[in-house]
């Protein structure tokens, strides 16, 4: 089986999440093939004639019948994708890449920090962790985005917020008075969360600069670089280590990442133009 050949999936539904973010639900075109993936992995999605891009999976790893991706309209391919409708076909290669450390984190307090569209890949980890809620200690989900209108998965977040066994906090960069929630960058929420720094796993996904500030805040609270995980992004053409584009110093984002233990990449993280 040539890993460069996409498999066809049919769009079951396209859902507009926010003004510029949408979710596509895919089902296999042939047979009852299940799509197994790990939380945090991504697929290469091909839109006929337009191109192929890496997009992380945002669905529940335990629901293998439907394949869900959430993405923002930022370039040619995502723009074309946003115009597709139920019944249209998308090419899929994957799943590729490393996963969130949901198993290794068992017994720990969990701090999940998401920025903007970064909530999409982290949602897979949230599903996994909540499936075995009792295996973890305190769980905090911190989410920052631009405005209240940009909040992803609003209804799901509300549901999570109402749970007493979760500390869910959402913050926006700016808001009108109709918003009664937090305003400020997501890092300002970190000192307000209770966790045992010696026994906490943090998972972060968002713009690199937001991850940088989050890491520094977490480490200020006493978390070690061994317990902080982040999802990195670079240009990617093949997803399987052949094209060279996603190199990040010693690492390939596609096969060594996209999820990295901070300890592993701290010699690169924040270095300019690496």
């Amino acid at each position: 089986m040539d890993p460069m050949i996409p498999t066809q999936y049919k769009i079951q539904r396209v859902k507009k999440e926010t003004q510029d973010v949408f979710t596509v639900e895919l089902i296999p075109t042939e047979g009852e093939r299940k799509f197994s993936f790990g939380a945090g992995q991504f697929n290469m999605l091909y839109i006929f004639g337009t191109g192929e891009i890496p997009i992380s999976i945002s669905g529940n790893p335990n629901k293998t019948g439907v394949l869900i991706h959430t993405t923002r309209t930022v370039g040619m391919v995502t723009k074309a994708m946003s115009k597709l409708k139920a019944g249209d076909t998308i090419g899929v290669r994957g799943p590729y890449g490393s996963t969130w450390p949901v198993k290794e984190a068992i017994g720990n307090d969990i701090v999940i920090i998401a920025g903007g569209i970064g909530l999409a890949p982290l949602r897979t980890a949230i599903y996994e962790i909540l499936r075995e809620r009792e295996s973890y200690g305190r769980i905090a989900i911190l989410y920052g985005t631009r405005t209240p209108d940009d909040i992803l998965f609003k209804r799901e977040l509300e549901k999570l917020k109402s749970r007493l066994d979760l500390d869910v906090q959402v913050t926006v960069d700016r808001a009108a008075r109709t918003w009664n929630g937090n305003v400020g960058v997501v890092t300002t929420l970190i000192p307000r969360v209770r966790f045992d720094p010696k026994n906490t796993t943090a998972m972060i996904c968002g713009p690199e600069i937001m991850m940088k500030y989050s890491i520094s805040e977490l480490m200020k609270s006493g978390l070690s670089a061994e317990k902080i995980f982040l999802s990195m992004e670079r240009n990617m053409k093949c997803g399987i280590g052949f094209c060279g584009h996603c190199q990040y110093g010693t690492e390939f984002i596609c096969k060594d990442g996209p999820i990295f233990k901070y300890e592993r990449i701290k010699h690169l993280f924040g270095k300019r133009e690496i």
Binding site: I117, V183, T188, Y213
Partner: protein, 157 residues
């Protein structure tokens, strides 16, 4: 007054301050509660208080003629609020509005200024702690200013 002292001592901003300095501060302190929707202060008013927040949430807002009030930041438990009492001309630069019931210890700015002038050691200690808060807020503001979640699409016409 003893309970106020205890409460103060436990607050992250005050923690570790010399007992005699806490004593001095207590002399300027009183309890305050703001119901949701109430203003702690408004822009251009005289800034006579320094708030040490115990619980709740306060939205800091700037009023714009076109869009009305725009929230810039929210602060809550463990935070402090206000430094205009320290810096002439001692007026608030924005609105502070409780969006949840907010409990705070309100320190009289004039009283505190007087004590800091008289006891430079206390003054310097408070200044260091405030500078720390300035730095954090400034950093957060910088990040906010970057508008990191917005879309920058070069080919978008």
């Amino acid at each position: 007054m003893e309970s106020l002292e205890k409460i103060l001592q436990q607050h992250p901003f005050i923690q570790g301050l010399a007992p005699e300095h806490v004593q001095l501060i207590v002399g300027c302190a009183k309890n305050a509660v703001f119901e949701a929707g109430k203003f702690l202060f408004q822009e251009d008013e005289e800034a006579s208080e320094f708030y040490i927040l115990r619980s709740g949430k306060v939205s800091l807002e700037i009023f714009t003629p076109e869009y009305g009030p725009v929230a810039i930041q929210t602060v809550g438990e463990g935070d402090i609020l206000g430094w205009s009492w320290l810096i002439p001309p001692y007026v608030w630069r924005m609105d502070g509005r409780a969006i949840e019931t907010t409990r705070a210890i309100s320190l009289d700015g004039k009283c505190l200024r007087g004590k800091c002038e008289k006891d430079p050691k206390l003054g310097y200690e408070l200044m260091k702690r405030l500078a720390n808060v300035f730095e954090q807020r400034l950093n957060a503001m910088r990040l906010q200013l970057l508008d990191i979640y917005s879309i920058k699409v070069p080919d978008k016409k």
